[in-house]
């Protein structure tokens, strides 16, 4: 089986490539948009296909002979829907029979309604630019569901965690710095999917080659709240759970950092990003750096670093059901939370998240 992975230089894409190459269970064609994306693949040698992925014709040129294309790209938010459509068109041109689109559960925001299901449409007007862009990309793909030339599968993972994941690294860093927090007692739903389980679920789809296009929420089977997840992570980095700040639900206020983040994701922000050269960006960072106010003296308890993104995620009401996926594709080669957390702990320790001096 020959599978092309678009976004092969990303966190998920590179793990997909690694799985293919080290396990040898499938042939993988890593597709990237340029040299910048090659770092995570460099250990394997120049195995990548570098191509302008916005051009269906050019992309089709590297897909010949592939059974499936898995799209794990993010790219520019403003161009995401168009790029997603270009990938689908490339499959049609190259005769690739399956297109697997990696969407996100974030298109449903905080999952306010218990009636949200796999075929629901993304929420409108999400505050997060990323979620809006992913929603638009998903709709671009769904527009092809009736096209018989290939089968299109949309998978919506929640928080992809595990070794090298920002959802492991970020909380671990926060715990070590004393800035991590839990809102509302950590009772919000933590919609996790371990990276290797997601790879296994993608492979299940490709191997079983569904005849009908469709959308599926995908996740680990266990149900966790944020408290349970943070307790397990704290054990891995050797930090007492009591060091995680408990923050009142009503205490969050949007700050300058949040506003800047939001501005970056706006149409104007994306427009500026494209027009400002690296030197101008550096200059802006240089000027902003002057406003940093360091605190000297005894190193004590730090204040919680509450960002809008984390705050929002901890407010998710309920775990999205994955029954439709299980019914269609079953469960193959996945691992449970305890084993996944143990592997994540190995990675954290190997990456210096437990301070140790040589013996």
């Amino acid at each position: 089986m020959k599978i092309a992975i678009l976004g092969a230089g990303g966190f998920l894409g590179s793990r997909f490539v690694e799985t293919g190459l080290l396990n040898g269970a499938f042939e993988v064609v890593p597709v990237i948009r340029g040299p910048r994306a090659a770092a995570r693949l460099a250990r394997f040698g120049p195995i990548w296909k570098s191509v302008d992925t916005s051009s269906p014709e050019k992309l089709a040129g590297v897909l010949t002979g592939c059974d499936a294309l898995v799209n794990a790209t993010i790219g520019e938010y403003g161009a995401m829907a168009k790029a997603t459509d270009a990938a689908w068109q490339a499959c049609a041109l190259a005769g690739v029979r399956q297109y697997v689109h990696l969407g996100t559960a974030e298109v449903f925001g905080t999952v306010e309604s218990p009636t949200i299901h796999d075929d629901s449409q993304p929420v409108q007007g999400h505050w997060m630019a990323y979620a809006r862009a992913k929603g638009a990309a998903e709709m671009a793909v769904r527009a092809h569901f009736g096209d018989q030339r290939l089968t299109t599968t949309v998978l919506r993972p929640g928080l992809i965690w595990g070794p090298k994941s920002p959802w492991v690294e970020g909380p671990a860093k926060g715990m070590l710095a004393g800035t991590s927090f839990l809102a509302n007692g950590g009772r919000g739903a933590c919609n996790l999917i371990y990276i290797d389980n997601l790879v296994a679920q993608v492979l299940s789809v490709v191997r079983q080659a569904p005849k009908v296009s469709g959308c599926f929420n995908v996740s680990d089977d266990e149900v966790h709240d944020w408290r349970g997840y943070y307790e397990a992570l704290a054990r891995q980095v050797g930090i007492p759970f009591s060091a995680v700040h408990q923050v009142e639900a009503a205490s969050y206020r949007m700050d300058v950092g949040d506003l800047l983040q939001q501005a970056k994701g706006s149409v104007l922000g994306e427009w500026l990003k494209k027009r400002l050269g690296p030197a101008e960006k550096r200059k802006i960072q240089h000027v902003l750096g002057a406003f940093k106010k360091p605190v000297f003296g005894p190193v004590g308890a730090a204040a919680p670093a509450v960002t809008r993104g984390e705050w929002h995620l901890q407010a998710v009401k309920r775990k999205l059901p994955n029954a439709k996926f299980r019914g269609a594709f079953g469960r193959h080669g996945e691992i449970d939370f305890a084993e996944a957390m143990a592997r994540s702990g190995e990675w954290l320790r190997a990456s210096g998240y437990v301070w140790e001096l040589p013996k």
Partner: protein, 365 residues
Amino acid sequence: MVSLAVIGCGAVFEQLHALAIRRLISGREVELSALVDPDQARASRYTKRFPNAVWFPSLEEAAAKRSLQAVLVASPPGLHRQQVEAALGLGLHVLCEKPLVTTATDAHLLARVAAASGKCLAVGQTRRYFPSLAHAAQKIRAGELGSKLTFTYSEGGIWGWPIASFAPFLRATAGGGVLTDKGVHILDLLLWLFGEMKVVSSADDSLRGGVEGNSQLELEGPGVRGTVQVSWDQGMNNGLWIAGEKGELRVQGDDFLSIDIRSRGGNWTRIPNEVAWPASTALNSPPMMTPRDYQDCVYLEWVSFLRAVRHGEKVPVDASVAAIPIGQIEEAYRQAKPREEKWLTAREQESAAAGHWRNGAAANI
């Protein structure tokens, strides 16, 4: 003013040096006269920002048509040896981006060429201007940590350079992976802090045909030993932790403002960095600067180079000093074993070990 040429108008020039050179032009310290790059279109992107700079396809042509005194070499490492040698041969002072070259033999050769030419050959090891590390060096030299030092250093981050070619990821053009790229910075600063150390062990994740994205070293020298880990494909808990018989200190990631210090078993205290360097080439009472970000450090590196050009002052890293970490990297590659990746499946770990680039055994990759 020193008349300057830049060789290599790619990401390193754009991201690191362009801003510093503009500051130096504003301060009437330099004039950028020539942009040397085989790709005219790439060089031409800078002619608006540097209106006096003219494009040339080769340094020889630039030197023939412009009156030059110094050159910045910011091309891929595989080209450095020949370009530095040519520049020194033309009687130019040279600031060369790291790594100077990819073998210690070449570094020593360039040291001899520079000595014979009487010109300055400085290597861009910018971290010598990180105030937290300079502060740490002061504490070590003052004996505040005591003897029998141990240390651990971690630095990881996902590659973000807007490069135009795959050269940094190919052994033939880069000489290696992250150890050559980032490791040379780290080994230079450890040389500065602790003196010369030998490589005790080395592990990396490169498979045959590739370059390493992660590298781990154990180092040992007189009265000091420690570990280094570096990555360009993942984040790490970035920082340096040093412990001696009397005390400990920590430098957190890219904190330019402070270090944490404590007596052995005591409580950590955060203290400000008050290390400063000359911020101009004025010989008498130059203004002093404590850098607050990487851009400031690059600027100070330039000032140090220009002070060497104008007043003959010694630069922190010349070719002889640069040869030491380059030699350590060569030794690390000689000793390299597969890195333990316990988070992978057993089969993946076996496969990665069997396919390791230093492993002659047959592999399934």
